[in-house]
Symmetry: C2
Subunit: 182 residues, 2 copies
DNA sequence: ACCCTAGCTGACCGATCGGCCAGAATTTGA
DNA sequence: TCAAATTCTGGCCGATCGGTCAGCTAGGGT
């Protein structure tokens, strides 16, 4: 065996993460991932049951984090909830940069009938959040997440101190939601 | 002949526009468009040289508009330019809703090496706008356009009076860019 | 009546996709 | 040392993709 199972899986996930972020889920073939990871396509499917499973595992950490944030927001009202949402999303995105970027990149595809797997039911909640005018605050949060995706794209690889980036993003997000004038 | 050439082309473009907006460029096959337009796949390629040509024609009206806006912005400085950019983008997006939505939807794909045709060199300018920190104001405008895409997705089909939507979007955009506190 | 031409189509092509499988290669444990 | 278990791969499969092509069909001009 060339690499241990855990190493191999990690390498595959690393390659897939970068390629998905660069070319999107649909735009990345199993062969692309295999070549990048330095193994055969068949080897991918030994470690992962199918292509969806790779993405699902990549996004896995985001799911519970998002659910937890969602739970925290449920107990708050309008403005307080918005502030908490922004802080939570900034925090979440800083801890799962590329993962969140992938999520954001396909956010539109997720909304209008996905070919992507519905990781932890995020798709359904996205759809709920965006359907109807009554969900306006939530829609705003998701809109801001989309914007955050582009911001992270340009600033992502920058060796910006995390604290600086966090403060910057938080300020920008609050401004977006009209909660800070600055 | 079932339909006249111009009618056929119009029907194809109409189908392609809706399908591209719903499932993305890569997510829509020629057969999908043909079925929706009520003709054969081969008939599509009689009226359009290839798949790219359909998208190119759909986005054609946006190109010159964008270039004209860009020209207008060139002569302005920081804050004034940002205000004009927002107003211009709102205006542009209201006139080319679905087209702009498609553009926004694939904005990320366009940036990281596109499989999409570079309509009127927009790709290159997007890349320029997002590379380096110095282009921050432009990057912000594009980020706002991405957000606008999601907003239009949810509010798009709504029978909202155009003037109301325009005012709302303008206010939101200015708030996003930190130029209006409201 | 005739043909010509624009419009349209079924059948087909090569390429690529995700996924499968039999078996080779390598490591492990007794 | 050797069999068992794990890891890995070449080759293949059916489906689907964008695109081509020879030829059918339906009017319009003469």
């Amino acid at each position: 065996m060339a690499r241990s199972a855990t190493t191999m899986r990690a390498d595959i996930l690393d390659s897939a993460l970068r390629l998905f972020a660069a070319h999107g889920f649909r735009g990345t073939s199993l062969q692309d991932i295999a070549t990048d990871a330095g193994c055969s396509k068949a080897s991918l499917l030994y470690h992962f049951t199918n292509k969806d499973a790779i993405l699902t595992e990549l996004l896995a950490p985001v799911g519970p984090e998002f659910a937890e944030l969602e739970g925290r927001l449920a107990g708050l009202d309008g403005e307080e909830a918005a502030r908490a949402a922004v802080a939570g999303l900034v925090d979440l995105s800083l801890r799962f940069r590329l993962q969140v970027k992938i999520l954001l990149q396909d956010v539109d595809a997720l909304i209008c009938r996905p070919e992507l797997p519905d990781v932890d039911g995020i798709t359904g909640r996205l759809t709920d959040a965006l359907s109807g005018r009554s969900a306006a605050p939530q829609a705003r949060v998701w809109a801001w997440m989309a914007m955050l995706g582009i911001i992270l794209t340009s600033a992502g690889e920058l060796a910006l101190p995390e604290e600086t980036l966090r403060a910057e993003l938080t300020r920008g997000a609050l401004r977006t939601l009209g909660l800070q004038t600055d």
